[in-house]
């Protein structure tokens, strides 16, 4: 999809973490770390300046937390993907970050391979990162979330029957290839459907589509 390496910016308030991730990601030929930011405000500024493909964003930072920084970045530049880093916990903050526009999340103690893979998946945008865990996280916290929402029914109604079916499968964490297999269609067809769904619903990626599917009640958190 992208020509040249994936350009990454790392935002974390701890220098050890920034340096560590920089070293680990720079060992990958297709990934290049182009900058670092020390807090949320810094991250917003550096993203505007460097326009990376992917931002690795710590949730807990001084000055401006990672969630708010994510909201500002994805609000201003929809092409930039945010991968949220969490110290050790998958909690409501991670869900909050997904709602704020993050494309995925990663534990900081992930291995170098997982880290690189996560950056690639998020940059490509055609699959959900860690589908099982993401689905569970969204399912669990969308249920607890009782904030008032936009009238979602009509928006789901804007989708065709096929598109609604595809959205439900995205929410279950399936990749395009898996959806194609499930629906007996070509992967290219699925890609077209996904693109239409995102445009129609005004969503930026599959993660947002999954959050949407759960929050609109299209998919019920079952077996959890």
């Amino acid at each position: 999809m992208t020509s040249g390496p994936i350009r990454v910016l790392i935002a974390d308030d701890q220098q050890m973490v920034r340096q560590g991730f920089t070293v680990l990601l720079n060992t990958q030929p297709d990934i290049e770390v182009i900058g670092q930011a020390v807090d949320g405000l810094d991250a917003v500024a550096r993203v505007a300046e460097l326009t990376p493909d992917v931002v690795l964003m710590d949730i807990r930072m001084p000055e401006l937390g990672g969630i708010e920084a994510t909201r500002r970045i994805t609000g201003a530049m929809p092409d930039i993907r945010v991968l949220v880093l969490t110290t050790f916990d998958l909690d409501e903050y991670v869900y909050e970050a997904l709602r704020a526009g993050a494309s995925g999340f990663l534990l900081k103690d992930a291995s170098a391979d997982q880290l690189a893979e996560a950056v690639r998946v998020v940059a490509a945008g055609d699959a959900l990162l860690a589908p099982g865990i993401t689905r569970r996280l969204i399912a669990e916290f969308s249920r607890l979330d009782d904030r008032p929402r936009a009238p979602l029914k009509e928006r789901v109604g804007g989708l065709t029957e096929r598109e609604t079916e595809v959205l439900a499968l995205i929410a279950q964490g399936l990749s395009n290839a898996e959806i194609a297999q499930r629906l007996f269609v070509a992967e290219q067809t699925v890609k077209t459907h996904v693109g239409r769904i995102l445009v129609k619903l005004g969503l930026r990626d599959r993660t947002q589509a999954a959050v949407f599917a759960y929050e609109s009640g299209l998919v019920r958190p079952s077996g959890y």
């Binding site: 050890m16 973490v17 340096q19 916990d89 900081k108 103690d109």
Partner: protein, 446 residues
């Protein structure tokens, strides 16, 4: 001029001293507790003085016999202070003996004696019944009253006498009123005692729960800090082999071991934190003062680096705060820094809450063996609103300090202000484990 000043000052002092409605309650005295006993004894003496001539002169009894009966009535009253039931028997016996004796010497057209109850007898028996009803169970009081009424009826109604002023009905009515009064007072007192007991139980319960909540919050924060460090270790162990050219296999293996251990520790920590969180799902990450002191839930656990921001936020909330640092600042263990930050945070929020209009001073002293934190505040300008909190503030500080084996003092200052002082040893509790003589909560820092 000078004289006018003097007079004005004198008048001012006079006004201050005498033109006031300050409450000044009598200090509780142990003597006061004996006041009811004194009153009863005085009344008993009156009953004796009044009863004796009535029985002797009007009743026509011999002096010795009259003395005996009067002594019985008077003694029953005093006895009722300690043993109400025997006192009741004694009073009944005195009345019965007196009534029968007087009846025997009674003559037609003679002196019209108050019978069967003499005035002194009624007063004495009223006291006895009241003291009984105040203490004994309701059934006992009812029984005593019934027997009294029955005896009166038998003596006056069934047996009767020749020439007398009947006192039975009056006596019975008065007795019934007094017994009902005593029962009601006793019921109220018991209900209140029960309520007081329940209140103290709930207060105790609440204090214990507050303590536990505070502990688990501290535990949560510290586990959080530890987990954070662990995850950095796991990253560093992974990064290290990339920092050298051709790392030897032993090094790689060793680092992989470090990473593996860090990951396992993290797994355990997640489990512990899960338990701590599920115990108090509503507990906020930061203390309840987060809005005024700048610890957003998405911020990392604070250290002393963030102290300036904290002070700045407290100033924004309207408190005058000055800070001083003595000694050479140096990084301290995260647990110490976190605790010091939280202590300052709690102390400042206490000043905001309990000392409106006061100004505060934060003093950090870096000592070779640890850190001393002092927060002073001046006398409040206005009287603070009554405290609503469950006492998390000082309790939390105490817990944090005890955990680090330091000590905490919190006391009012002579000028009306308040001081919170904490010493936090930099090497933690392990130090004193080797040296049992040195222990927490000792007097002062060196």
């Amino acid at each position: 001029m000078l004289g006018g000043n003097l007079v004005r000052r004198w008048l001012g002092a006079l006004r201050e001293d005498l033109w006031t409605a300050r409450p000044d309650p009598l200090p509780p005295s142990t003597w006061l507790r004996w006041l009811p006993h004194g009153i009863v004894c005085l009344a008993a003496f009156g009953v004796f003085i009044g009863g004796l001539p009535q029985l002797h002169e009007n009743g026509g009894l011999g002096f010795g016999f009259a003395l005996l009966i009067s002594a019985g009535q008077c003694g029953a009253m005093v006895l009722a202070l300690w043993r109400p039931v025997p006192a009741w028997w004694l009073s009944m016996a005195a009345m019965l003996v007196g009534a029968v004796a007087v009846r025997a010497v009674m003559v037609v057209d003679g002196y019209s004696f108050t019978w069967p109850w003499t005035a002194a007898g009624i007063i004495g028996h009223l006291f006895v019944l009241l003291l009984l009803a105040l203490r004994a169970r309701t059934r006992v009081s009812a029984e005593a009253l019934s027997l009294t009424v029955l005896t009166t009826y038998v003596v006056q109604g069934l047996v009767g006498a020749q020439e007398y002023q009947p006192t039975g009905v009056v006596a019975v009515v008065l007795f019934a009123v007094v017994v009902l009064l005593g029962m009601a007072l006793r019921g109220r007192r018991e209900a209140r005692a029960e309520l007081a007991q329940q209140t103290s139980l709930t207060a105790e319960e609440r204090a214990r729960r507050t303590l536990l909540e505070e502990r688990s919050r501290i535990a949560r924060e510290l586990h959080d800090v530890v987990a954070h460090h662990m995850s950095v270790i796991s990253i560093q162990a992974q990064v290290a082999p990339h920092l050298v050219e051709n790392p030897p296999d032993e090094l790689k293996e060793n680092l992989a071991g470090i990473r593996q251990n860090a990951l396992e520790a993290l797994t355990e920590l997640r489990r512990v934190l899960g338990v701590l969180r599920s115990e108090h799902p509503d507990a906020p990450e930061a203390p309840g003062t987060a809005d005024t002191t700048g610890t957003a839930p998405h911020a990392p656990q604070p250290t002393l680096d963030r102290l300036d921001a904290l002070v700045e936020n407290t100033r924004a909330a309207g408190l005058t705060v000055t800070t001083e640092v003595s000694g050479t600042p140096r990084p301290l263990p995260p647990g110490v820094e976190l605790s010091a930050y939280r202590i300052v945070q709690e102390a400042l929020s206490n000043v905001l809450r309990h000392a409106p209009g006061a100004s505060a001073r934060v003093h950090l002293t870096y000592l070779p063996i640890g850190l001393r934190v002092d927060v002073f505040n001046t006398r409040p300008v206005r009287t603070p609103p009554p405290s609503q909190g469950a006492g998390h503030g000082l309790l939390g500080m105490r817990e944090r300090v005890a955990m680090l084996d330091g000590h905490l003092t919190a006391h009012p200052l002579p000028d009306g202000g308040f001081q919170v002082g904490a010493f936090l040893p930099s090497d933690g509790p392990a130090h004193s484990a080797h040296d049992p003589a040195h222990h927490a909560h000792e007097d002062d820092t060196p």
